[in-house]
Structures are given as C-alpha cells and as structure tokens.
C-alpha cells in the first residue's frame, strides 16, 4: 500500500520560455532530448501523417462532396450499423468480460488454465480465419441449426467473438490485486454480497473495464475479416463501414472512402476520450 510520499521539491532553474517542471521530474538531458525527438518523428511518420493525409483526401470533394457521401443511403446505413454493432458488442463485453475475469480469478476449478487459454484464441486468430470458423458454425448448413449468415445478428456475433479478450484481460490483473480484506471489512460492516460487489469491488474495476471497453469498441469499428464473410456485406442491410469503404475504393471513389474513414476516426476519438475520462476520474481516487 503506497503511503503518500511527499517528493522533496527540487530547486528547478527557471528557464526562459519553459514551464517549470513538476516536482520530482528531472529535466531532460541531451540523450533523452534526442530520444523524445526520435519518438515524435517515428509517431509522426507512422500515425500522424497518414491520418492527416486521409483527412485531406476526404475534403477533396468540398463540403458538398462530404455531405453527398454521408447522405448516400448505403454509406449512412453502413456507418450506423457499424457504430450500433460496436456499441452493442462493447456493452456485452463490459458485462460478460467482467464476469469471465471474475470466474477466472476467484473460482478454482478443473480446466481453469485451459479456459484462460481459450479466451485469447479469438484475438490471436487471423480475422479471416475467425470468419471461416463462424461460417462453419452459423453458415447456411449450420451443424447446430442456427443460421446467421447474411443477418445483422451475424455481425454482432462476429464482433463479440473477436473482442472477447479485451475486457477480460484488462480486468483480470486488477481483480487479482484487490485486497481481500476490503471485502471482508464490507461483510463485517453488514454489506451483503451484492452491496460488496457494487459498492466496494466494482469502483476499483471501472478504470480497467473502461480501458477494455475502449479497445473493444475501437476494434469493432474497424473489423472487416471476421465480419464480411458471414454477413455477406449486403448494401444497406448487412454491410459494415469497412466493407463499404472497400467497395468505394474498388469503384475508384477514394474521396468517399476517406470521408467514411474520417467519420469513423472522429467517433472512435470521442468514445476513447470519453472512456479515458472515466478512467482518470476513477484513477484520481486511487
């Protein structure tokens, strides 16, 4: 348990044009200055420049082109379908993932290690293989008699399949570190099992759940391989945004595809920043 340590305030030399460093932070030396520069350059080439390029491409048709693309029924329904499916899958993951993590950490049963291994498989599989697996089970000749091919439910199931580990793996280590005394203190103070979970355990899991949810949502927004095979990508019915973009690109409509990309980018940013705020609010208390 970390006691509050007061870091001795180092006398920092005030340098012109620079904010004073927070206490405990050493000023950058020449070596780490170089490191910072390289990291910035690396991230710029890898992430920032391509993003900027997409944003620029998306504006090539002007505002009218932007609006035209978005009001296209196939595009708008693809975006709505994608976002709703991603939200639904993430919502399920928040509950189911926490539950699975709980069982893995708190229960002792035969096959626990095996189950723990199984959880990572959907994540580790190439997504197209995941698609094939789903087709084999829920395709036209479903061996279990459940045919989901070419339905929206298929998209939901595919997303659940590939995003299964995110919340589980985020929550599991936090749950393992929880002090069992806290729950016993709650019990001794008269709280029932539900009250102990909701009031004492869950608040400590929120940052981890939020982090897992952010990953799950981001992955769902962009998922292609596992979804496209089983959904059939029927325009305006079972076509997700990534599939729509692919067909736009195949039709030489790079600008249109970029518009969809920018919209997805903005939505992802909003959700991830939102979940980040949840995490920070919870972390501030720790």
């Amino acid at each position: 348990m970390a006691a509050t340590t007061t870091t001795p305030v180092r006398p920092t030399r005030a340098r012109a044009g620079r904010r004073p460093l927070p206490p405990g932070v050493l000023p950058l030396g020449a070596g780490s200055g170089l490191g910072l520069g390289l990291v910035t350059l690396y991230l710029s080439i890898l992430v920032l420049l391509p993003l900027i390029a997409v944003v620029i491409t998306s504006t090539e048709g002007g505002v009218a082109g932007f609006v035209d693309t978005l009001t296209n029924p196939a595009v708008s329904s693809a975006i709505v379908l994608t976002v709703l499916s991603a939200l639904a899958a993430t919502a399920v993951n928040v509950v189911a993932g926490t539950l699975v993590a709980w069982v893995l950490v708190r229960d002792r049963f035969v096959g626990r290690r095996l189950l723990s291994l199984v959880i990572d498989i959907p994540f580790a599989l190439p997504t197209i293989v995941a698609g094939l697996v789903l087709i084999a089970l829920y395709g036209i000749d479903s061996p279990i008699g459940i045919t989901l091919a070419q339905t929206r439910a298929a998209i939901f199931v595919a997303l659940l399949f590939v995003t299964l580990p995110f919340v589980v793996r985020a929550v599991q280590p936090v749950l393992e570190e929880l002090d069992p005394d806290v729950e016993q203190a709650g019990a001794s103070l008269g709280a029932g099992r539900l009250a102990i979970f909701v009031r004492l355990v869950l608040p400590n899991l929120v940052p981890a759940i939020a982090a897992g949810a952010a990953l799950s949502f981001a992955r769902s927004l962009g998922e292609y391989g596992s979804v496209t095979l089983i959904s059939g990508s029927l325009p305006r019915r079972t076509e997700v945004a990534s599939a729509r973009m692919l067909s736009q690109i195949e039709n030489d409509n790079l600008t249109g595809a970029s518009v969809v990309a920018v919209v997805l980018l903005v939505i992802a940013l909003i959700v991830i920043v939102g979940l980040n705020l949840v995490q920070r609010r919870a972390a501030r208390r720790g």
């Binding site: 509050t4 806290v182 016993q184 001794s188």
Partner: protein, 331 residues
C-alpha cells in the same frame, strides 16, 4: 457475578481449526468479559488471529461454538454478528472519502441521511479526523488510516470490537501513540474489545486482561500484572519479558539482587561484561562456584556506581524476595 453479566461479552467454546495438516487452534475455550479490553497475545502463527477471525465470522471453526452478547453466533454470517473488525493493513475503501468510509456500515443499513451525518461527525471527532472528512484514504498517514478504520468499525455500534494486529503496520512512535489513544478511547466508549498482538509490551500496557496463545492453545489468562508476576509456565514467562536462568530457575534479570559482599543465600559470581542501554545496564555475570554458569542481571547506572562494578569485579547474587520464578521441571 450475575448471569446476565456473564452472558454478555464473548464466549468461544471448544474451538478447533485446521488448515490442511496444520493445527491452528486446538480445542480452545475463551471467555471475554463484557466492556473490557482483552489482548490475545502470542507469537506469529500461534492461532490468535484465526481465533479472532472465527469470532468475527470471517473464518469458520471446524468445531466449537461462538456466543456473542448472549446470542449463539456460530452459524451467523459476518454481516449479522454485529462485530466491528479492524484489519492490520487498514482495509480502507480507497475510492471513498474518509466520511463515506465511516458512513459505510450505516449506509448499508439504510439509516436516515441526517442520522448518518451526525453519527459520522461524532465518530470523526472521537478519532480526531474531523478536518480530514473529505480526504481520500490515500491522502492519510498510516496512523490516520487506522483511526479511520476504527471509526468505521464503531459506526454501527457493534456489540464487540475486534482488532487484528491493529498497530502492526505502523512505525514504533506512531504505534506507541495509538496504543495510548486506544486505551483512552476504550475508557470513553466501553465497548467489549479484543485485540490481537504479538507485542508483549503493547498487551501489558493497554489491556485489562491478557490471553496468551501459543501453538493453537491457551497458555494462560489473567491481568497484565498476574501474568507478569505469576507466569504459569516458562513459555509465558519468556514471552512476557526478558529472562535469565540462575540455579536452573527461570527468573527476570531485574529480580536478581547484587551485593559487593557475601550475604545470606548469595552465590559468588564475577562480572564478565557491562553494557549500558539507555537507563539500563546489562551485566553479564559468571558464577565462580559450581558449574561456572553464566547469566545476566538488569541494573541501573546508579547501582553500577554504588557497587563499583567493572569487568572482573567479584560479586554475590541471589534472587530478589518477591521474584517471579519458574522452578526447573522435575524430571
């Protein structure tokens, strides 16, 4: 004693508990009188914490019964035992403010808001944390956290207060302060209190009664002075303070009188080493008759000066008149 009074407090009868092959408690009986401050004292792994947890319902005994305040609690879950429990490592609810921590037991009992506020403020005043009500536990020192945990345990007016090594995680100075403070608090609140400790000084200083537990058994029960002056066996004697051996008899090193000249009942010895520790001088002596046995005596610097002691000084010693002595076992 009236029956009503005897019924109050805590009774544990025939408690046994095993963890695999390890016997943590072996048919232990315990009676804690109502309104007193009782210490369960013993070495680590002796079973005292397990006994406390069984009373609280946090562990279950393999056999035996627990009666709290006249009510059979053996099968009650911890929620319904009306026990306040304080953990060694505070078990603070890290995401809740000090106020909400203390209020927790009242909130889950759905007491009216106004009542909760009044009760929590009263308790925070009692533990001197009023100005920290809005802080988070992480912003408190260890001693403050433990006081918060104490207020939290007292909030719902438990029948008994149980403390498991409450000062074990604190540094020596804070431990001493909290010890005095717990004693004063108990004198104010009068709730039946049991605390577990492995620190004999803590037990001697704070408690009304001490139960010495070792290897899953009760070695002796009594007031601090009883135990110190009339230990039942060598274990209790050794655990409660320093001991030395003279003529095969176990006694306290401050219970040996030292003379410059022979006196009735004395035996001759010679000083081997003198070491001053604060206001105490440890004198290592060796007998110059019989088996040349070594032992040590606790003296004051004044005594050393009066006797003019130095290494190789010959002296005569004998047990003090009221010395607590454990005679050698007859074999």
């Amino acid at each position: 004693m009236a029956d009503a009074q005897r019924a109050a407090g805590i009774r544990a009868d025939g408690i046994s508990k095993r963890f695999g092959d390890f016997v943590a408690l072996d048919d232990v009986d315990l009676a804690v009188p109502s309104g007193r401050l009782t210490a369960l004292l013993g070495p680590s792994g002796g079973g005292k914490s397990t006994l406390l947890r069984i009373i609280a319902g946090l562990d279950t005994a393999d056999t035996g019964t627990v009666v709290i305040d006249g009510q059979d609690a053996t099968r009650l879950p911890p929620q319904r035992r009306e026990v306040g429990f304080v953990f060694q490592h505070y078990a603070a609810f890290k995401h809740l403010s000090v106020f909400r921590n203390v209020a927790f037991g009242l909130e889950v009992r759905r007491r009216p808001k106004a009542e909760i506020r009044a009760r929590v403020h009263e308790l925070l005043e009692l533990v001197h944390l009023t100005q920290f009500a809005d802080r988070l536990p992480a912003q408190l020192s260890g001693g403050q956290r433990q006081r918060m945990a104490l207020a939290r345990a007292l909030a719902a007016e438990p029948k008994v207060l149980l403390l498991d090594e409450p000062f074990g995680a604190l540094d020596a100075k804070v431990r001493k302060e909290l010890r005095d403070w717990l004693r004063r608090l108990h004198d104010e609140v009068h709730v039946t209190t049991v605390f577990v400790t492995h620190d004999q000084e803590e037990a001697l200083e704070v408690s009304d009664e001490i139960v010495v537990i070792n290897h899953g058994r009760v070695e002796q029960v009594g007031s601090p002075n009883d135990l110190y002056d009339r230990p039942a066996n060598e274990f209790v004697m050794e655990f409660l303070g320093p001991t030395t051996r003279l003529d095969g008899r176990l006694l306290r090193p401050h219970d040996i009188d030292v003379f410059a000249d022979a006196a009735p009942g004395t035996v001759p010895a010679v000083v081997q080493r003198l070491q001053r520790v604060g206001f105490e001088v440890r004198a290592d002596l060796r007998r110059t008759d019989g088996d040349q046995q070594t032992f040590w005596v606790q003296l004051t610097p004044g005594q050393v000066e009066t006797l003019d002691l130095a290494v190789d000084t010959p002296v005569w010693v004998r047990p003090a008149r009221r010395a607590a002595v454990i005679e050698p076992a007859l074999t």
